[in-house]
């Protein structure tokens, strides 16, 4: 869109390259071994997809956020595993099982997301409170359905292939993540829905007066978040063979961290998919690097926080002004008050 390079994008690309270089040197090459690259690529999608959900909700403006993503992913996984196992055998009918599992997980996700959208659009609930409530609701339902223990997903071949298989050396789950990122990115940029979503996020009042169907946009947005949670459920089930209600309780804040570091405006109206993608990979690289160097996980949390602060600092504060003397004189703040105020 912009002729000049986006500073956020440049920052994220350099951070990714930098971490990769550092890690490769520090681990004496073991870090860029193909197995580790595949392992990291397979770890990114779970968090990356949840972050896309958070970004979509944030873009809608008016304090939009989705706190229920992880809970919904767990609920989708648990519900789908229980329901599909009751009707189909994973060993006898692996393909039917896989298709049914994926369909049910995404359907449950969609329903959960639409529920969020309806509550926010029609009851006018604040998104943060609404999704906090549904987060607890989804978790509660998952506990009741599963009885609080992990549920084994039948090990159907095609289902296991989704998160463990490779195409041309690239994990299938990573390919899915890339395709979804691309699709949603294009939708946001080129479809009327995407343009309306960002415009609504920028100024909801103006959007309403322009005749946008705000409720429909909100429901569609949160519905998309829900479907993404459903996809995450499939990936978790496929990779871990088991699903549980309390899996990934720490994911929510990390997903928000990814989103903020990607430069998505928390007040709505702006976000770039490529930045979400690079932000997710940067956190993964950093996290894996520390595990390669036997560093404590508290150091990892610290480094993530530092990265965020450096990022915010470089984005807010124009470092250029330190090196290059600007010739333009700021004038707007010293303008005289309008002459009309002289009357009295």
């Amino acid at each position: 869109m912009k002729p000049k390079t986006d500073p956020q994008l440049a920052f994220l690309i350099s951070i990714n390259v930098l971490i990769l270089l550092c890690a490769a040197i520090l681990s004496r090459g073991a870090f860029i071994d193909s197995y580790n690259l595949q392992s990291m690529a397979a770890q990114v999608p779970e968090l990356g997809l949840l972050a896309i959900g958070v970004m979509l909700a944030m873009s809608s403006g008016n304090g939009g956020i989705d706190l229920s993503g992880t809970a919904l992913a767990n609920l989708s996984g648990v519900a789908s595993a229980l329901l599909v196992s009751a009707f189909l055998s994973a060993d006898a009918d692996p393909w039917a099982f896989t298709v049914a599992f994926v369909a049910v997980a995404m359907l449950v996700g969609l329903l959960g997301g639409v529920l969020n959208g309806l509550l926010i659009a029609h009851l006018g609930l604040t998104p943060i409170l609404c999704t906090l409530g549904t987060q607890m609701l989804f978790t509660g339902v998952a506990v009741v359905l599963s009885g609080g223990v992990s549920v084994r997903v039948g090990s159907a071949g095609p289902l296991m292939e989704i998160a463990n298989g490779l195409v041309c050396g690239v994990p299938i789950s990573f390919v899915i993540f890339c395709v979804i990122s691309l699709l949603i990115g294009m939708t946001l940029k080129f479809s009327p829905f995407g343009i309306q979503l960002f415009l609504m996020g920028t100024n909801a009042k103006a959007a309403r007066y322009s005749g946008f169907a705000l409720s429909r946009i909100l429901i569609r947005t949160y519905g998309m978040c829900g479907v993404l949670a459903g996809v995450v459920a499939v990936l978790i089930a496929s990779r871990n063979v088991n699903v549980k209600w309390d899996y990934g309780q720490s994911y929510l804040l990390i997903a928000i961290l990814i989103t903020v570091m990607a430069g998505v405006k928390t007040e709505g109206g702006y976000g770039r998919m490529i930045c979400i993608f690079l932000s997710a990979t940067a956190l993964q690289l950093l996290s894996s690097m520390f595990n390669f160097l036997d560093a404590s996980n508290f150091i990892r949390d610290f480094a993530w926080g530092m990265l965020l602060l450096i990022f915010l600092a470089t984005m807010r504060y124009d470092l250029k002004s330190l090196f290059i003397r600007t010739t333009s004189i700021p004038t707007s703040s010293v303008q005289r008050p309008p002459a009309s105020t002289n009357h009295s």
Binding site: S14, L18, I25, A42, N240, D246, Q249, Y251
Partner: protein, 332 residues
């Protein structure tokens, strides 16, 4: 432009750090992954892993764990360690089911896997338990019986009726108490939910209902704190005995006052050493035989049976029953 400046500055910083990290790592790498870092129980295990590393200079051994109690975070650490191709992996799973997949990938990659506190783990070469649950329940009850003079009413607490090990402990205790005709079990298996306050309320109720109660056998880690407080407030130290699972540091005050007669536990330090010793034996392709000696306190005569998966299930005798006289040896 600014980013180039930033980039070069950070690259320089990293490269200077890199030279420090460039030491040769040809020795076998033995990783231990715990449920959570930074809590007393696993800090104590870390002491054991460090001791093992110091005593075994031929390997590099270290411990890591997630900074919050989330099975997904533990999973990510294990994923990275598998990718790094450490030689052995000792894991105390947050949730055994969640890491089955990654442990299978680890074993496929030729990594030796040893687990602890996961007797239902399928994808492991060996799972080591500190003690046999029935033995532990019997030992706690025996201590209680001797404190009560083998006479009088006693009751038992479990974390919840769903916690399998707790039920095994109190059932074995009840079985043991049958040996003594004078001991009567009343209102057995009260649920404490590992909450000291709730346990305190419940213990007060029971003391009111049975003024002649002489003993408590408890199971969850915080039970002794709650019951001990109830005993202390009623001024019943020395008249009512309390024996249960507990940790030395939190129980110290009540042990000193006599409200807690004895606590039972296992020392995570030795569990950490035992896991790594087993991993090293497996790495050296040595067999694990029934009754073997791991040369670790409490694991001198380890039973070896077939586990739920392809690996073995090993049980030591590492229980510790500590009272006022010796709890100071285990402060953690």
């Amino acid at each position: 432009m600014i980013h180039k400046v930033l980039f070069t500055a950070m690259a320089a910083a990293c490269l200077s750090g890199a030279s420090a990290g460039l030491q040769a790592q040809e020795k076998p790498v033995m990783a231990t992954v715990v449920k959570i870092s930074g809590i007393p129980w696993f800090d104590r295990m870390h002491v054991g892993v460090k001791e093992f590393a110091a005593a075994t200079p031929s390997v590099t051994a270290f411990q890591n764990g997630p900074s919050n109690a989330d099975a997904a975070q533990q999973l990510r650490i294990v994923e990275d360690l598998v990718a790094r191709k450490v030689n052995t992996l000792a894991v105390v799973p947050m949730d055994p089911a969640v890491i089955e997949g990654v442990l299978k990938r680890a074993m496929d990659r030729g990594i030796v896997v040893v687990t602890h506190e996961a007797d239902n783990q399928k994808n492991t070469n060996a799972n080591i338990e500190a003690f046999d649950n029935a033995d532990y329940g019997r030992a706690l009850n025996e201590k209680l019986a001797s404190c009560m003079g083998k006479q009088g009413k006693w009751t038992s607490f479990v974390g919840s009726l769903g916690s399998r090990t707790h039920i095994q402990w109190v059932d074995a205790g009840a079985e043991n108490a049958k040996k003594y005709a004078g001991m009567t079990l009343v209102d057995a298996k009260n649920e404490s939910f590992d909450d000291a306050n709730r346990t305190y309320e419940k213990a007060k109720e029971i003391l009111r209902k049975h003024p002649d109660l002489r003993g408590f056998q408890s199971s969850a880690g915080n039970d002794v704190i709650g019951i001990g407080r109830a005993i202390e407030e009623a001024g019943l130290q020395g008249k009512v005995c309390l024996v249960g699972t507990g940790l030395p540091n939190p129980s110290a005050k009540l042990l000193e006052s006599g409200a807690i007669s004895a606590i039972g536990f296992w020392d995570p330090k030795y569990a950490g050493i035992a896991m790594n010793k087993i991993a090293k034996l497996l790495l050296e392709k040595k067999p694990l035989t029934d009754g073997m000696n791991l040369e670790v306190k409490g694991y001198e005569k380890v039973s070896v049976k077939k586990g739920p998966g392809a690996g073995v299930l090993m049980v030591g005798n590492a229980m510790v029953i500590a009272d006022k006289s010796n709890y100071k040896e285990y402060l953690f």
